[in-house]
Amino acid sequence: MFVLPTVTEGDVDWVCRVMGLPPTAFSGPDGKDPRMTVIQRMDTIDVEACPGSGKTTLLVAKLAILARRWPSLRSGMCVLSHTNAARDEIARGLSSCAEGAMLMGYPHFVGTIHGFANEFLALPYLRSKGNPIKVIDSEVAIEHRWKKAPYKKKLYLNQQNNGDGRSFLRYDEEDFSGDKMRSRWKPHTETFKLIQEICKSSSEEGYFCYDELFVWARKLIAERPDLAHDMRHRFPLVFMDEVQDNDEEQSSLLSQVFMDGDNPSVRQRFGDSNQAIYQRSGVTNGAETDRFPGPKIVRVDLPNSFRFGTVIAGLADPFAVTPQGLVGLGPNNPRPPAIFLFDDASVQSVLPRYCKYLVEVFSANELRSGEFTAVAGVHKEGEDDKIPRWMGHYVPAYNPDIVHREPAPESFSQYVMAGWRESDRLRRTAPLVNAVAHAMLELLRLEDYEGTSERVKNPHQVILSITTDEKASFNYKRLLDFFVRKAGSITPELWNTKLARAIEAVAGKLRGASIATPEAKAFLSWVVAAGKVSEVSISASSNVYQYPANEPQVSVRLGSIHSVKGETHTSTLVLESYYRHHYLSTLKPWLLGISSGGAKQGVLLQRGLRLHYVAMSRPSHLLCLALRSDALTESDRLVLKGRGWVLLECPPH
């Protein structure tokens, strides 16, 4: 019978060696580091890992050891993360040694929860029903559905949702009804039935929104009572990363598959409940099922942070809803933390003042190589009644829309450029090759190519399989070779005069007919991607603030607190913002050292705490805040100074 491997101290020594870590990386200088416990335990545990605790490194190390000792050919480890970025980070870590690299293939799974639900549940279910799977992409699927709606119906739907009728075209139940349509119409109405029918036919043709696959994953679980048992055979050991971000749907699905009932898998969850801020729109709470950390599950705390030193640890710790007692083991050369005070007239001086302070406390070298940010809890515009409500009050040129994940490319050139940036960063050609292949598939799809997106794990192979014409694939590869060598030096002129036509010719050869539709032609033209930073101090396309404007010495990246989750900065400025109340003002007792933690506080306040705990635990060297001057009394100021804060007034602009 299958027995989980054990992890010896020798294994830990080995992994430190291959990962290039000091021998005491996990055991700690005193041999008491709880990381060692985490690495050796082989039962179900919840690990509360503080910001900067090196949780990914710890997880990668443990996985590498287990991969080396793994005894089975057909049972594996399941490593679930939330985002593709987190998955890629784990994959990168694992690829540094041969044993770890083995984890990236059968019988193991390393991927997102979505990826898992698709690969093991939803797609086998749909395939077995004979349902084709062409595209799993919310945008494409919704566009596909929108085209099915009669013109008058589109007008009506738009009118029902502030011009965004498309958002009705999603479902979350197997009868193809969705939350949004249910809340607007009764099931027997003609509109409801029509939307349902549109969703149904579109899905039956193979078009799905990302979250809709969960419907079919759940359906398979419901239809197959043995499934959980089967999956536990396959994955007797499950790791979950960033588990505080699981929503109810994900959590209950994973719980059904791995934990409920007899013979659960061994599950090790890593997360930080204090940083649970990622919530999908409309969802205000995290998972109710199988909460993290679980009340009846062995819990290991990792309060040691390698990101920052004692100063920042001390300032951030009280903001945790459940303070762990952060221990700052990071850089011991912090700069004095500062609070910038402003009023309505000086709110736009906050950023310049912050930059000025940065120039004062950091060396020119540090300014060049460091990562400087300013973040706000609210970064979208609202009514202009409460200043400061959002980031735009500080920097009017701020564009909240580009903070989101990199938008899906809209042109062939954007695909190429995005792929090239990634290739350049990773020093590998794969991202660029995939990007070109994806773009080529997209181009062919705009004509008439009907490929399934399921195969698009390796788009390059798909392209090669489209044609039997040796010449066509040769030309395609020659095009690829050009991009690999020259993508960095492509100019709009070159693109428009030569490349677009070359791509068109290759695509024509591949499909055996010329490129004809206007959409495809438009897709081929050069579309200016995110441009370079221009003369103005803030670039509308990158949200990078530069100071001083004419001869920049420092660049500050602006964003929402959500957008900087998981990041490490040299310096972070946390800006006051407004959601039902001014966040920082409300949290003043925590700043002053009067309050600590918030387990008993209301939902709204807890939300504020989590948000600002995340923000305040980003910097390695310098933590700054920006508060309304009128929020602090004289005695408040004395207390804050006593706690080490430098208070700086911003001049009117």
């Binding site: 089975s72 050919l73 057909r74 049972s75 293939g105 059968y106 019988p107 690969e119 093991f120 797609l123 086998p124 279910y125 395939r127 077995s128 004979g130 398979l220 239809e223 197959r224 043995d226 499934l227 048992h229 089967d230 999956m231 536990r232 055979h233 396959r234 994955f235 399921e454 794990k457």
Partner: protein, 661 residues
């Protein structure tokens, strides 16, 4: 989990669509039986292509594996072979979770479709192949490690058992031993400090090795050699700061696992010769083959992960008939056992040995004919449930011939068995040349044997293209016969059917169309598809021969049989006996006598006088052969003189005789 279905398109002799090959397999054992070139090896090779084999002998696609489409006069572009697995355990379903197909019936299966794409002439590249899951290959590509779990064990037809079992890197024996738990779990390591009072029996295998090495080192011969090597040769060849030294030991390299493997690979397994128990003397090729198969089964039974499929081509190779029966019996009993991981071993054998075939349950047999598979399992043939136990009892080696025949004549007794091949030969239809087997069912179950080759559902499954002639008697005597053949005493009245216990029938029992009705009934018992029943035109074989014009020959044969004992002692009396019998017959055959009467008198020799029909058939066969050889009887005359049903039966399994002008 077991391989439940195999679909082959465009591989070697198998075409696509209607000409594709489809085979449903049983749990347990499946025997593919059929004549040469029927496609047995291609089937096994197809499975090997998809699953791969554990001997690591990589079967590569060859350009001529692509089916040649005769109609299109071209090779096809793509080969596709699909294996479907059913009966998955929970662990199986887990292992292949991302590849499964969930059936509407509630079952879960795994499809693995292998495709190969033909490269065009002039490109000297590997033929691209791909393994996909899902119905019709719609699912994701199978990871190579997932594929490796499906690897089968394959024993080739002319195997060199001795070589396969000998020591060496990666030897089969080493694999078997490594899969034996006790190899590692038993015994303790060797500790040179605790040498005193050490019981070598307490040591583990590696411990024994270290113990041996320890003593080897103090062995005078080894010590001396090492010293000489070091002092006289290596030392002068060394650099000052890098002394070369040698160490002589058995399997001394690497960690414990590596050294254990090295020991195991040094081991041999030998089958003891009779009377020997210590391997000093081995046995021959055939016996070693049994040992080989035993080892493979042991290995399969011991492995915990993986798919236990064993494919044996021609297990009969190198084995004498009785051993073949023992082997088959053993295999059939072995596949029923459940392994520790819940799996049962599946075995696929191919054979053209009637010996083996006779031992295999019909349920497990698949007839391969004209590139099609015809499972003989219940429900697939027109056999009824009660036919199966009957046939398992009576299907012996001789009757098992029918699986390999291109035509079959099923007869009820030895007389037909002996006579029909000779008659066919004389008519220019040599049964051997046509690959026709003749099966004597010895009075019982004529239809049952024929129905083996009849399909229950020919529309869906196709027909087996093997013509079968069932030759049987009409068993209705002419009205004059009862008194002649002794069924009634002279003067006795013809008893009415009602109320009498008589078994025999005469024509007057069947007034009007009833006689034709009886004939139709008998014919209908087994007919349809390529099976046809041929009923004696009149009564019974000997009577019909006499009736149709061979009366004198039958009379002679009966007379010779009656004097068989004398003739055995004094063969020279044969001519005299023939002359005597001829005169007897001439006296009998007076002009104007009804042919029914004369033929009945001939038949009375058997029915009344008890002359052996079987021996008579021998004599008749040789008399007819002589007559044709000497020109006394022309082939045309013979054909005229034969009962029509016999000629028809022969034509049915061979080919029509030329039309008589």
């Amino acid at each position: 989990m077991y391989l439940s279905k195999l679909e082959i398109s465009n591989f070697r002799q198998f075409g696509e669509g209607e000409n594709a090959f489809v085979l449903e397999l049983n749990r347990g054992i499946t025997a593919l039986v059929g004549e040469n070139d029927s496609g047995k090896t291609a089937i096994i090779d197809a499975i090997r292509m998809v699953l791969g084999t554990r001997d690591q002998e990589y079967l590569r696609v060859q350009p001529n594996d692509f089916h040649f489409d005769i109609a299109a006069k071209a090779q096809v572009e793509n080969i596709s072979i699909c294996c479907t697995f059913d009966g998955l355990t929970s662990a199986d379903r887990g292992a292949f979770a991302e590849y499964l197909s969930y059936m509407p019936t509630g079952g879960t299966v795994l499809h693995v479709t292998w495709t190969a794409k033909r490269m065009h002439a002039g490109t000297r590249r590997l033929i691209p192949t791909e393994w996909r899951s899902g119905d019709g290959g719609e699912g994701p590509v199978l990871d190579s490690k997932a594929r490796a779990l499906l690897t089968a064990t394959y024993l080739r037809p002319l195997r060199d058992a001795e070589r396969a079992l000998s020591a060496g890197r990666g030897s089969r024996l080493a694999q078997i031993l490594q899969n034996t738990k006790e190899i590692k779990s038993h015994g303790v390591a060797f500790d040179s400090a605790a040498l005193a009072g050490l019981d070598p029996a307490s040591l583990s295998l590696v411990g024994l090795l270290d113990y041996t090495n320890h003593h080897f080192q103090s062995n005078e011969g080894i010590r001396k050699t090492r010293e000489r090597l070091n002092d006289d040769y290596l030392s002068p060849l060394s650099f000052a700061n890098d002394e070369l030294t040698a160490h002589i030991a058995v399997s001394g390299n690497g960690d414990d696992d590596a050294r254990l493997r090295q020991i195991l690979e040094k081991l041999d397994v030998i089958l003891n010769a009779p009377g020997i128990t210590d391997g000093l003397l081995g046995r021959g090729l055939g016996s070693n083959n049994l040992l080989f198969m035993a080892c493979e089964l042991l290995l399969l039974a011991g492995e915990e992960e993986g798919f236990p499929l064993l494919m044996i081509e021609e297990p009969e190779a190198h084995l004498h008939p009785q051993r073949q029966l023992r082997l088959m019996d053993f295999l059939q009993s072995h596949v029923g056992k459940t392994k520790a991981d819940g799996q049962k071993i599946q075995v696929i054998v191919t054979t053209h040995s009637p010996n083996l075939a006779s031992e295999i349950k019909l349920d497990n047999m698949v007839l391969i004919k004209d590139r099609k598979a015809f499972p003989l399992a219940k429900g697939k043939t027109s056999l009824t449930a009660s036919d199966y136990p009957f046939l398992e009892r009576y299907l012996d080696v001789t009757k098992a011939n029918l699986f390999f025949a291109r035509g079959v004549v099923v007869v009820e007794g030895p007389a037909e068995d002996i006579l029909i091949p000779t008659l066919a030969q004389l008519l220019g239809r040599n049964l051997e040349k046509y690959g026709v087997s003749i099966i004597d069912v010895k009075g019982t179950g004529l239809g049952r044997f024929a129905r083996i080759l009849q399909r229950e559902n020919p529309k869906a499954d196709g027909e087996i293209g093997i013509p079968v002639s069932c030759v049987t008697d009409m068993d209705v005597m002419p009205d004059c016969a009862p008194w002649i053949v002794g069924a009634l005493k002279i003067g006795e009245a013809f008893p009415p059917l009602k109320g009498s216990k008589r078994k025999w029938r005469a024509k007057q029992d069947f007034p009007g169309t009833e006689l034709a009705g009886r004939r139709a009934d008998i014919e209908a018992r087994v007919s349809g598809q390529k099976i046809k029943t041929f009923v004696a035109n009149e009564w019974t074989l000997e009577y019909d021969l006499a009736f149709s014009g061979l009366g004198e020959f039958v009379w002679l044969a009966a007379h010779l049989t009656d004097n068989d004992d004398t003739l055995l002692k004094s063969p020279e009396k044969r001519d005299a006996e023939i002359a005597f019998a001829k005169a007897e017959f001439a006296a009998l055959a007076i002009a104007g006598k009804a042919i029914e009467e004369l033929a009945s008198e001939v038949y009375a020799r058997f029915m009344k006088d008890g002359v052996s029909k079987a021996i008579s058939a021998q004599y008749l066969a040789s008399l007819l052969s002589e007559a044709v050889e000497t020109g006394q009887l022309t082939v045309a005359e013979l054909r005229q003189a034969l009962p029509k049903y016999l000629v028809d039966a022969i034509e049915h399994v061979t080919e029509p005789l030329p039309v008589i002008p």
